[in-house]
């Protein structure tokens, strides 16, 4: 039996300890905000925050996050009003929206590490997150807005 701490809550798992965290979150715990996009840490759609760092849940097994704090989009902010989420809405960032949770989690992790990133730093930090609709210009501006208020 593995016990995980997700968004401050204990979750138990008695299945395959190698199960990718992504599928535990989505299919076993019902936290469907985190998305599947590639399964190989190539697209960032499954990004969650573990102990203040962005990780790809698709290549992280449940046993890797035992005794660590896992934060998903559902736990990012109690009312969904994290600065990044607000900036996203202010600038109408999403198109289809599917990658946006991963983008938001990556951006939130970036701002923990670097509260005032430059545009180049934003582009570097967000380069692991693919948006096929092509919302990059707005993503860059929204991360900047979230970090500066302007």
């Amino acid at each position: 039996m593995i016990t995980l701490k997700i968004n401050g809550q204990q979750k138990n798992w008695d299945g395959d300890p190698d199960l990718p965290l992504l599928w535990f979150l989505r299919d076993e715990a019902g936290l469907t905000g985190t998305k599947y996009g590639c399964g190989q840490a190539l697209c960032g759609a499954c990004t969650v925050i573990v102990d203040k760092q962005a990780i790809r849940a698709c290549i992280t097994s449940v046993s890797d996050v035992v005794d660590r704090e896992v934060t998903t989009i559902e736990g990012l902010h109690p009312t969904g009003d994290h600065a990044v989420q607000k900036a996203w809405r202010q600038l109408n960032v999403p198109q289809c929206g599917f990658c946006q949770v991963g983008q938001i989690m990556q951006a939130a992790a970036l701002l923990i590490e670097n509260p005032k990133p430059t545009h180049d730093q934003i582009r570097e930090a967000m380069a692991g997150n693919i948006c096929r609709c092509g919302c990059y210009q707005r993503i860059e501006n929204a991360v900047h807005l979230a970090s500066t208020g302007v």
Binding site: D16, R26, N92
Partner: protein
């Protein structure tokens, strides 16, 4: 209107519904295999309401213009408007209901959106593709809103005993200005419901100068908040009690099948419950599943791990020799010989012979995969002779029909619930994944989710075609182009529906080949033969990608050869402002639109070129290693011109400091979403021009994920994309937005690389060509 009720459950709409008797998705007819798109019903006439006609009523099941189907008002005043098209990022779930709200004077903050299930008899056509939604539904949605407003006004007038001409709906209330009385929509709902639905012909539409929402761009997508907090529901987010999770190993070669398999090792994987063969259909298989072996598990991760442990022997079938390098040579050889003539003006052969100079450009564009961020996925629950489907489908009505047909049950017994789409780009117009889920659910007697992995998506999709475009331009002594021969060779989408297809269908030929708008005396377009060896499907902007690439590259090549400015060359070729006549083209495809409403108008094409040149600073001086390129193209009956600025460093590293695009899409509804579509089209265009290539060896796709089929990431994306929308008169018909941004981007970028480096790239993707 339906008070207090869920509009889904209401009936009584039948007499307002126009139903045609075309068998749905009469694909073969639509593909021109029976000689062009066949109409089965007259176009609905709406005298006095529209200055234009669209092709909306030629679509399967046409349009429905009935407020009782689309609008409900609750006693508390909340107005529910049905969104009957699929949301995949274009904003259609917001834009179409917003049109209804505008006309009925509803206050947007008191409007709720309800997604329609698949039911085209009730809602009209639901195929969300072809950049059609606003084009086909601006007027019907205005009529629905105006009908609702008229019924509310009539109800208030009756209650007050005054003529209905004395009252007016204003922002969720009806007002009698003479007496100062006013009453809210909620209080009027029950009375309005008893009013007759007014005839469409008598409706009074709002004066566009009074619009509060249309054309303003002030309203965000209705799903915006849900998307940012993770509650927006996509196909994979549907969870049902007792649901099983499935992934399927599909034949790696199109048309292949399972020879034998061993699931013993898969069954030993923790969480795996069952391994079973899935039915496949013989090639060409239309939208039917490919078949294969399914692994059923308690979660998706276990199903994937189980699938990895399967041992399958495949029978590859006839396409097992498909190989991309050889196929390219084959296409090139075909393009160098005469082919089926699909447009002919003057005598091109003689004109080329007599030309002072002949410039030849041969362009190659490989297969592409859609790779929407959400791979195909669907949930099905089949019980007895009833089926319920949840999924991200572009074609809710088509999915319903195909699932019903496959299961052998009546269409009325199939409910298709449309979730948000995590991107579509044409892939999700084909519902094979929903049929797979239905077949498995029927077999297992439980709800099933079928999840496609990214590798499945790349290897088993419906790819964008692969093509060679060869253009020969003959010039006289003054440098004027007097001859233009364009041969386009590519496997057709029709091959997915009909065996032995070797020519492209009218709708493919009409995307940038036969509709070429240049003013040239001798023009010939030809379509030599090409057979398909994999599933070919619609990909955002379809054949316009190779055609615009070839034609707009050629313009710059001619400019270079005659020492002229590429923008001036482009305008010279477009020629005088006129309506292009294409009398020699049989079965001209005009995106399904009547040519009278949507002719090829070179004045509009010239205008976007001039606008983007002005706003984008064409001719401005740029730093060393930078260059500007321009391209223009009409597609989906919209006009677009793009300028790309590139920078290429001495190691061949490509960056894009700036993109400028002008679009004329006629009357528009939501400029904020138009802007986002054009921004995104630049990214998709850059992905295909820089990286995009699906290749085959031994019949199998050689790529599988974003490592070997890369798309543009934020650190290589254009620094800024500026968008300019041409203001249109109120009577200019709306035209496409979702797709037209893609085609001009690739040639504009390639032309910019030429300006920067002197290197002319004729084969996509760029790959390492700049490093040489």
């Amino acid at each position: 209107m339906n008070i207090l009720t869920n509009p889904k459950k209401l009936r009584g709409f039948e007499r307002y519904v126009k139903v045609d008797n075309v068998s749905r998705r009469s694909i073969l007819k639509g593909l021109g295999l029976a000689g062009g798109f066949v109409l089965a019903a007259p176009v609905m006439s709406r005298p006095g309401l529209a200055a234009y006609q669209t092709g909306a009523d030629k679509m399967p099941h046409g349009t429905v213009v009935d407020p009782r189907v689309f609008v409900a008002i609750a006693p508390d005043g909340i107005v529910t408007i049905v969104a009957h098209r699929a949301e995949m990022g274009t904003g259609v779930r917001t834009s179409l209901p917003m049109i209804v709200a505008e006309e009925m004077e509803a206050d947007w903050s008191r409007v709720r959106i309800q997604q329609a299930h698949g039911d085209e008899v009730k809602f009209g056509n639901q195929d969300t593709d072809g950049s059609r939604s606003t084009r086909h539904y601006l007027m019907p949605m205005r009529q629905i809103g105006a009908s609702a407003r008229t019924m509310l006004e009539a109800a208030a007038a009756k209650r007050w005993g005054v003529p209905s001409t004395d009252v007016k709906a204003v922002n969720h209330e009806v007002v009698h200005s003479a007496s100062g009385r006013r009453i809210g929509f909620g209080d009027l709902a029950a009375d309005a419901d008893k009013q007759p639905v007014p005839s469409v012909e008598g409706l009074k539409l709002k004066d566009p100068k009074d619009f509060r929402y249309l054309g303003k761009g002030q309203i965000s997508m209705v799903d915006l908040r849900d998307i940012t907090v993770g509650t927006a529901r996509y196909g994979a987010d549907v969870r049902l009690p007792g649901m099983k999770y499935a992934v399927i190993a599909r034949p790696p070669v199109t048309g292949g099948k399972v020879a034998s398999f061993d699931g013993a090792a898969a069954m030993k994987v923790s969480g795996v419950e069952k391994v079973m063969e899935v039915k496949g259909w013989p090639w060409p298989s239309k939208f039917q599943p490919l078949g294969g072996v399914a692994v059923i598990a308690r979660n998706t991760g276990a199903a994937i791990k189980g699938r990895d442990a399967l041992k399958i022997v495949w029978d590859d079938g006839a396409n097992g020799k498909y190989e991309s390098v050889a196929y390219r040579t084959q296409l090139e050889e075909a393009a160098r010989k005469p082919g089926l003539v699909v447009r002919k003006e003057g005598d091109v052969e003689a004109a080329l012979k007599g030309a002072d100079k002949v410039i030849v450009g041969e362009y190659y564009l490989p297969h592409l995969a859609h790779v929407a961020m959400e791979p195909p996925v669907a949930v099905a629950d089949v019980k007895g002779d009833k089926a319920e489907i949840w999924g991200p489908v572009q074609s809710a009505g088509g999915t319903r029909e195909d699932v019903a047909k496959t299961l052998g049950i009546p269409e009325e017994n199939v409910t298709v619930n449309v979730t948000l789409l995590g991107g579509g780009f044409g892939r999700k117009s084909k519902c094979d994944y929903a049929i797979e889920a239905a077949l498995l659910s029927k077999e297992l007697g439980a709800p099933v989710k079928v999840q496609w992995t990214r590798e499945d998506d790349v290897r088993n999709g419906f790819l964008h075609t692969v093509s060679v475009e060869r253009i020969e331009a003959g010039l006289d002594k003054s440098g004027k182009v007097t001859a233009w021969r364009h041969r386009s060779v590519a496997p057709s989408i029709a091959s997915t529906f009909a065996a032995n297809t070797v020519h492209q269908a009218p709708f493919e030929l009409g995307m940038g080949l036969v509709d070429m708008p240049f003013e040239i005396a001798n023009v010939q377009c030809e379509n030599p033969e090409a057979a398909a060896h994999t599933r070919i499907g619609w990909f955002r902007s379809v054949s316009n990608i190779p055609r615009a690439f070839a034609v707009q590259s050629m313009v710059a090549e001619i400019a270079k050869a005659t020492n002229r400015d590429p923008k001036d060359m482009l305008l010279e070729l477009i020629g005088s402002p006129r309506i292009v006549k294409l009398d020699s083209v049989k079965d001209l495809w005009n995106y399904g639109e009547p040519y009278e409403s949507y002719p090829i108008d070179t004045a509009r094409l010239r205008k976007v070129v001039e606008l983007v040149a002005d706003k984008g600073g064409w001719g401005r001086s740029v730093p060393k290693g930078h260059g500007l390129g321009i391209a223009a193209h009409r597609s989906f009956v919209s006009y677009i011109a793009t300028i790309v600025e590139v920078a290429v460093d001495d190691k061949g590293k490509l960056t894009v400091p700036r993109v400028d695009t002008a679009i004329d899409c006629g009357t528009y509804v939501n400029p904020e979403r138009i802007q986002s579509q054009i921004e995104g089209a630049a990214i998709m265009g850059m992905s295909l021009v820089k990286h995009g290539a699906i290749t085959f060896k031994d019949g199998k796709v050689q790529q599988g994920n974003f490592d070997d089929f890369p798309v543009i990431r934020i650190d290589e994306s254009p620094a800024v994309t500026n968008v300019y929308i041409v203001p249109a008169g109120p009577d200019t018909p709306p035209s496409g937005v979702g797709e037209p941004g893609v085609p001009p981007f690739a040639p504009a970028l390639i032309n910019a690389i030429f300006a920067a480096t002197g290197k002319r790239i004729r084969a996509l993707p760029i790959g390492k060509q700049l490093e040489a």
